[in-house]
């Protein structure tokens, strides 16, 4: 059993590690989405974390746990002054403003000669191992799980459903919005720092709009209303090229067709499963059977 697990891990270790990082990124977006905010700045926060981490490791020789933490902290620190004005915007305008921020950050990195300019940083020591990633992921999942039925969790859900009504009920809407935005930035920063120490390079163009969209895709495909959704989405989309590889005999080209497949999956999910793939688990027939069972039980028990 353990041998089989070990064989599986050695065969798919890159996939497992990248999938874990993508899952963390997807959860970073869950915080804002669960509050009804469509922010596309998390790729930029990830970039801030990656640059912070790589530079602290290579130029300042900080210990690794501190480096990872610093990546998150710096991203979160950037998120506060950004979030205060930007979070007044609603809906699509917030999305546009955060896209704009992301591009400014990316262009800043491209022009930052201290950090290698357009080439980025090369030769970041490999320090991230799978258990770093999964420890962070499990911690995050635990926090999300505890959050869900907490005062803050209910407040987030209330803001998502009706901002004005939540404010009337005494929820400090601005404080919660900034808090989830900053929390998302912190998590994305940590993911960025972990990723930089996983794959040797930090490339400014990896933190642009298309990455922001990728993160959104993980969350949407998996489902945004349950915290486990983004993890499932990230796992599926990350594994997609490997899944496609099984069908090469049918004329599938894993490279170009990855984008095609993820586009089709995304379209199908938003059209038919707006709650994401996790909503399959709450499939109707099962529920009906359960309710009938309860009804029969009650009937047997008598009035």
């Amino acid at each position: 059993m353990l041998g089989a697990l070990h064989a599986f891990y050695t065969q798919h270790s890159a996939l497992i590690q990248v999938g874990g990082i993508n899952a963390i990124l997807a959860i970073s977006l869950y915080f804002t989405l669960a509050t009804g905010l469509l922010s596309l700045a998390n790729a930029a926060f990830m970039g801030i974390g990656a640059y912070t981490g790589a530079l602290l490791t290579m130029r300042a020789h900080w210990p690794f746990p501190l480096v990872v933490l610093a990546g998150g902290v710096l991203a979160a620190t950037t998120a506060v002054p950004l979030g205060l004005p930007v979070l007044r915007l609603r809906g699509v305008f917030l999305a546009i403003a955060t896209i704009g921020f992301g591009e400014v950050v990316r262009i800043f990195f491209i022009n930052w000669s201290y950090a290698g300019g357009a080439l980025g940083i090369d030769g970041v020591p490999r320090k991230t191992t799978w258990w770093h990633i999964y420890l962070a992921l499990v911690l995050l999942l635990f926090i999300c799980w505890r959050l869900r039925r907490s005062r803050a969790g209910y407040a987030m859900e209330a803001i998502r459903q009706d901002e004005a009504a939540s404010a009337t009920m005494g929820i400090n809407v601005t404080a919660y919005k900034v808090a989830v935005f900053v929390a998302g930035a912190f998590i994305a920063g940590i993911a960025g720092s972990l990723q930089a120490h996983l794959r040797y390079i930090v490339d400014p163009n990896d933190y642009g709009f298309s990455t922001a969209v990728d993160i959104l895709v993980y969350a949407v495909v998996g489902g945004m209303n349950v915290f486990i959704g983004p993890v499932i989405g990230a796992a599926l989309i990350t594994a997609l090229p490997d899944i496609l590889r099984q069908f090469t005999s049918l004329g599938v080209q894993p490279g170009p067709d990855r984008a095609l497949a993820s586009g089709i999956v995304l379209l199908l999910v938003i059209l038919f499963l707006p709650e994401g793939l996790v909503s399959i688990a709450r499939f109707r027939p099962w529920r009906r059977r359960q309710t009938t069972a309860i009804a029969t039980q009650r009937a047997r028990a008598g009035p």
């Binding site: 469509l38 004005p85 930007v86 915007l89 609603r90 809906g91 699509v92 305008f93 999305a95 546009i96 403003a97 896209i99 704009g100 921020f101 591009e103 400014v104 262009i107 800043f108 491209i110 022009n111 009706d162 901002e163 004005a164 709009f209 298309s210 969209v213 959104l216 895709v217 949407v220 080209q253 170009p256 067709d257 990855r258 984008a259 095609l260 993820s262 586009g263 089709i264 995304l266 379209l267 938003i270 059209l271 707006p274």
Partner: protein
Amino acid sequence: MAQQIVNGIFAGSIYALFAVGYTLVFGILDILNLAHQAVFMMAAFAALQAVLKWKWNFGPALLFATAIAGVLGILIYYIAYRPLRRRPDTYFSTLISTIAFAAILEALALRWYGARTSRFPLNTFPDHTFHIGSAAFTLLQAVIVAGALVLTLGLQALVRYTRLGKAMRAVAENERAARVLGIDVERVVLVSFAISSALGGIAGVMYGLVYNSVAPGMGHAVELKGLSVIVLGGMGSIPGAVLGGFLLGLVEVASVAQLGSNTRDAVAFIVLFAILLLRPRGLFGRRLVREV
């Protein structure tokens, strides 16, 4: 300096043409069609295919590409918009569905045409250079600026003076009331998608011709700059998008001249950011505050 202004006007006319289509759909439906950039790219490839493979002249190739773009717009309407219009969060779900649509088109382009940059043959458009003072411009550039002006003014006239345009404005104002008054809302929206995409397609062909590069990812830069343009002009405002396009073109060349070429791409987004925070309705926007 005169040359810089000419270049700015010229880049601006493509931004303007791209952005009016963007803003038309936003103005009517309050949704952001992120597949617009993919239509822009597909139209450029369609024109290229007609010129290179089928040896068509440029004129018919442009018409063909425009038609393809219009058809893609209709597909966007049927696939990515109509099934979602009853959802409570239409702006969000259509954002996702148009992103998915764009990803599919881009992947198809990659499959059909490959990742490398393709070019129009040299003699696609008669090469002739004009001089005004110290500034030089080609016949192609002149035609593009004139074409962009004619098309955007034509669109503005259509929206302002025709029956269809009136219907579009009515749907934008209040969809339910428009329906009660007997306007075929579905048809109006469908036609708007087709017109918007056709204009985006023309912009794509012009971009491909003038910068001499057609590639599956060519729409990305223009997409994000187009966002800045429509925010600058005021979301949903056609004159705003045109003016915003030209302004962005000029500001970009000015920043290259004054601050160096690295800052050019940042300018668009700093403008975007400043407008959203200081004057969210842009230059010509209608609404002051968006309701819940």
